[in-house]
Symmetry: C2
Subunit: 217 residues, 2 copies
DNA sequence: TAGTCTAGAGAATGGTCATTCTCACCGCTA
DNA sequence: TAGCGGTGAGAATGACCATTCTCTAGACTA
């Protein structure tokens, strides 16, 4: 036997960490396998033992990042009691993300732009991510009692903010989208929760201002 | 003299037509210069006479398409008298675009995903497009008397709809974004134009339903 | 008609890249 | 110690591609 399953998993994680770093920073097609190999500090032989092709590695990178992002948002929102705050916290999450120094847009949209038309597995992975991500967002909004129309609009605000922040190298779209969402939420006739009621976060996270995006970094 | 300026311009147009077709359909990096040459039905020598490099051709393709899209939206909106209708017509334009059989998302976001980190001129062109496009959208909204916050949100809805429609291969996001915009517009306290007043398009374009996206094709 | 210029068609060049292969070596068993 | 399965390091392979070059032929001048 060459390698225990646990050791394989550790190496796979090490490789995906490196791949994610270089692919996200510089683009998938702009990075060759030698660079991935070097970034992961693994021999080429091992790289192809862990993933039979670059495409497989790309799909795995996208999937792992998807899982990571989904649970991060769930956690971010989980301990907020007020439904409207839960919705707005999505945009606070975006604001923190946009402030990360190596933020470079949506990994899935980037991959779609690069490989969408020529690489069916990658396109399918992007499609899957977007559907699941959308379901997560709209789930948070509708669970707070708002209409499906509001939920759709909140989701589109999120997507628009990510695309805009990437190209403009600015975190402002998070706040702008948050403001748009506030307008949608406070005016929704089907529910119209009054703002200001039931505010405050439980211990473990600092207070977030109600009307403004929390600053990160 | 090798070629008159007018003839050069005609050939340049012929080449950009072809380049736009193949680049947009299959991605910039996935298409090689021989394919562009073949699609334009021009000898290779001529291609490099018209654009000194593939990068130059890509930038020119993006710029021409930008000019085209900007004036198309201006025209689309121009003859609508009611301010709120002018805003919503943006989404009708999107709906028609999304219904085109070869719609494949935002050419600029696609190019940014492909080349953004490695190709500064392309990144600059995308940046420029997004700023100008945003100014156009927010100009239409604020000229209709709405707040800057509403204008920002409308713009983000547009960007989100384009990204979502591309990946999901669906035109629905146009209608969803339109609905979100309607919620924003009809509830904007700073202006609150009553819906239903001053409706109807002038001759030359068919009537658009007020609450639903106009079907294209 | 001889000379010169330019164009078209496509091959050659030089470089890159994903993937595979070689080879010397290590740890283990008998 | 001889044999064996697997390893690291990196070179070789085969394909692709942007860009340039060659060769042939037509158009135009004198």
């Amino acid at each position: 036997m060459s390698l225990t399953t646990a050791a394989q998993e550790a190496l796979r994680g090490q490789l995906l960490d490196a791949a994610e770093r270089v692919f996200y920073a510089r683009g998938i097609q702009a990075v060759n396998m030698s660079e991935v190999r070097a970034a992961a500090d693994l021999p080429m032989r091992r790289v192809y033992q862990l993933f039979p092709s670059k495409d497989d590695m790309v799909v795995a990178f996208l999937r792992r990042r998807h899982d990571c992002m989904m649970s991060a948002i769930e956690d971010y929102v989980a301990d907020l009691p007020a439904p409207q705050e839960r919705v707005l916290a999505i945009f606070d999450y975006l604001d923190e993300w946009f402030h990360e120094p190596d933020f470079r847009g949506c990994p899935w949209m980037n991959a779609y732009g690069e490989l969408g038309p020529t690489n069916a597995p990658v396109a399918a992975e992007v499609h899957h991510h977007q559907q699941a991500f959308r379901a997560l967002i709209t789930g948070i909004v509708t669970a707070a009692g708002y209409t499906a129309g509001v939920a759709n609009a909140v989701y589109l605000l999120v997507e628009g903010a990510v695309a805009t922040a990437a190209v403009q190298h600015s975190a402002d779209p998070a706040g702008e989208a948050r403001h748009g969402a506030e307008l949608l939420l406070t005016n929704d006739r089907s529910r119209a929760p009054r703002p200001g009621t039931r505010s405050g976060r439980p211990a473990g996270k600092p207070d977030a201002p109600t009307t403004r995006v929390r600053s990160a970094r």
